[in-house]
């Protein structure tokens, strides 16, 4: 059987969206894994019901594997799970009210579970991370300099990086190129040529916009939960 992953992010407490995606996935052939790449919580609505569902899947749900994202990082920092650090990123970008809203939307009983989530998964030759190995808030898009994208891939030594932070859906392949380097030290000079490895960065989207990835053929499908038009040809029953 071909392996097919579903990649989801940016639910931000929205159980309805998650439910729509689960329904889609039930109708999609061959989905073997569901990865939720962070931002399970957010300041817009109460997150408790979604977190309960992720922790205790309904019968028939594809079991989610979750990592933490930028919003969890803010919440956990503010709640004292990150040493001295507080929700500085959120405070700086959206102000004190947003911090208060976020705290109010997540029952503290969920904090230990959220704190137990990993930073990312390495599956086969793929890294699944909310931002990048550089930072959970690393905002990678198809417009990001390929030099930076290549650096993020190199740091993890993977061929594919799935990222969610930008909320964009894209599949950017590095297809070629190279660089010359000359090192001079007290022993003399040496030249090196290096080629660009064939690697890619995939933005998986956020909320109702999610991604299916066919591992064997390296194909991505960008979908919107609940919309039948885009999902045609995806093996929907």
């Amino acid at each position: 059987m071909i392996e097919r992953w579903a990649l989801v992010s940016g639910l931000r407490g929205n159980l309805e969206t998650y439910d729509l995606i689960q329904r889609d996935l039930k109708k999609t052939r061959g989905v073997t894994a569901l990865f939720v790449l962070g931002d399970l919580v957010g300041p817009e609505c109460n997150c408790d019901a979604l977190l309960d569902r992720l922790k205790n899947p309904h019968r028939g749900d594809l079991k989610p594997d979750c990592i933490y994202g930028w919003w969890e990082e803010q919440l956990l920092a503010e709640r004292g799970f990150r040493g001295e650090r507080k929700a500085d990123g959120l405070r700086l970008s959206q102000g004190e009210d947003a911090v208060t809203a976020l705290l109010n939307m997540v029952n503290p009983s969920h904090l230990n579970w959220l704190a137990s989530l990993q930073f990312g998964f390495i599956e086969l030759d793929c890294a699944l991370i909310h931002g990048s190995s550089s930072d959970v808030g690393d905002n990678l898009t198809s417009e990001t300099s390929p030099l930076i994208l290549l650096d993020r891939l190199t740091r993890l030594n993977v061929n594919r990086l799935f990222t969610a932070r930008s909320t964009k859906q894209f599949h950017l392949e590095l297809t070629g190129g190279g660089i010359n380097s000359q090192v001079k030290d007290l022993n003399g000079k040496r030249e090196q040529q290096q080629e660009v490895p064939k690697r890619s960065v995939i933005g998986i989207g956020a909320g109702v916009n999610y991604t299916l990835y066919d591992v064997g053929s390296d194909k991505t499908h960008f979908l919107t939960a609940g919309s039948q038009t885009k999902t045609k040809g995806m093996g929907f029953a």
Binding site: S145, P146, I148, L150, R155, H171, L172, L174, G178, V183
Partner: protein, 271 residues
């Protein structure tokens, strides 16, 4: 105009004096120091005071940072537990010796200095603890210089001096995307950039006991790696006298380290 860049003095006064003499003799007036004034060596106060007295522009090194912030660096700085224990010993000793005034000076140092298109850092623009080794992935090396917005990046921390030129780079990209499938793709031409590692004045590990530093000519961009002999025995003696780990004296008298470097040069300390 020629200017000199020194790094990793590591409380080795005879080495620092010898290098400064060598620079003075050539009539070079601009000196930039890339940090690690203290650690390993026996004269932390003397070295800090000499740098302060001479008014040498300095960025903060990994040791300078740890002395101020406490040893909360992640273990990536140390390749083995033995190395870590020795490092902690030297840290404690240095912490006990340094005067409050000298500690405040180290605390006041910036993590980077910039002059036009030249950027000066201790480890990398990301962290005082990141090693930019001469053979690290060329694209990752270029990314460090480019993201920092510099033409030439001066760094230290590895204790091995080198000049690396990165040129003729390009990356081809293609969007695989259901919405707008542009089959052609694009090509990004990468700029030419340089990384200059100043080596180490006070704790050389390039295979010789001589102190190293570099001279850069900002008109021609030529870089010369300089070696200076100094009284190694004097410093070794002082290390043993001070009760610091003898391996530090051994390392100085051999000029290389024995498995004492973090293996993964691309590792970034995330503390």
């Amino acid at each position: 105009m020629n200017h000199a860049i020194i790094s990793c003095l590591h409380a080795n006064l005879p080495a620092v004096e010898a290098v400064l003499n060598d620079i003075d003799r050539q009539g070079i007036h601009t000196i930039t120091c890339l940090g690690d004034l203290v650690g390993y060596g026996p004269q932390p106060n003397e070295v800090v005071e000499l740098i302060r007295k001479r008014g040498i522009a300095t960025c903060q090194g990994c040791w300078d940072e740890d002395i101020i912030d406490g040893l909360n660096a992640c273990e990536c700085s140390y390749p083995s537990q033995l190395a870590e224990r020795r490092g902690h010993l030297a840290h404690q000793w240095t912490d006990d010796q340094l005067t409050g005034e000298n500690k405040s000076f180290l605390a006041s140092l910036p993590t980077s200095l910039r002059r036009d298109r030249l950027l000066f850092v201790h480890g990398s623009p990301n962290s005082q603890h990141e090693y930019l080794l001469p053979d690290m992935d060329a694209f990752a090396a270029l990314e460090r210089v480019e993201t920092a917005g510099a033409d030439i990046l001066f760094c230290g921390h590895t204790h091995q001096p080198y000049v690396r030129e990165l040129r003729d780079g390009s990356i081809h990209v293609r969007l695989q995307n259901a919405d707008h499938d542009c089959g052609q793709g694009e090509e990004l031409t990468l700029p030419m950039r340089k990384i200059v590692n100043a080596g180490s004045v006070g704790e050389p590990r390039h295979g010789s006991t001589n102190a190293t530093y570099v001279i850069h000519n900002d008109a021609t961009d030529e870089v010369e790696i300089k070696e200076v002999a100094y009284d190694v025995a004097r410093t070794c003696h002082a290390i043993v006298e001070a009760g610091l780990p003898k391996v530090f004296a051994w390392r100085l008298s051999h000029g290389f380290e024995f498995a004492e470097q973090a293996e993964d040069s691309s590792h970034v300390c995330e503390r």
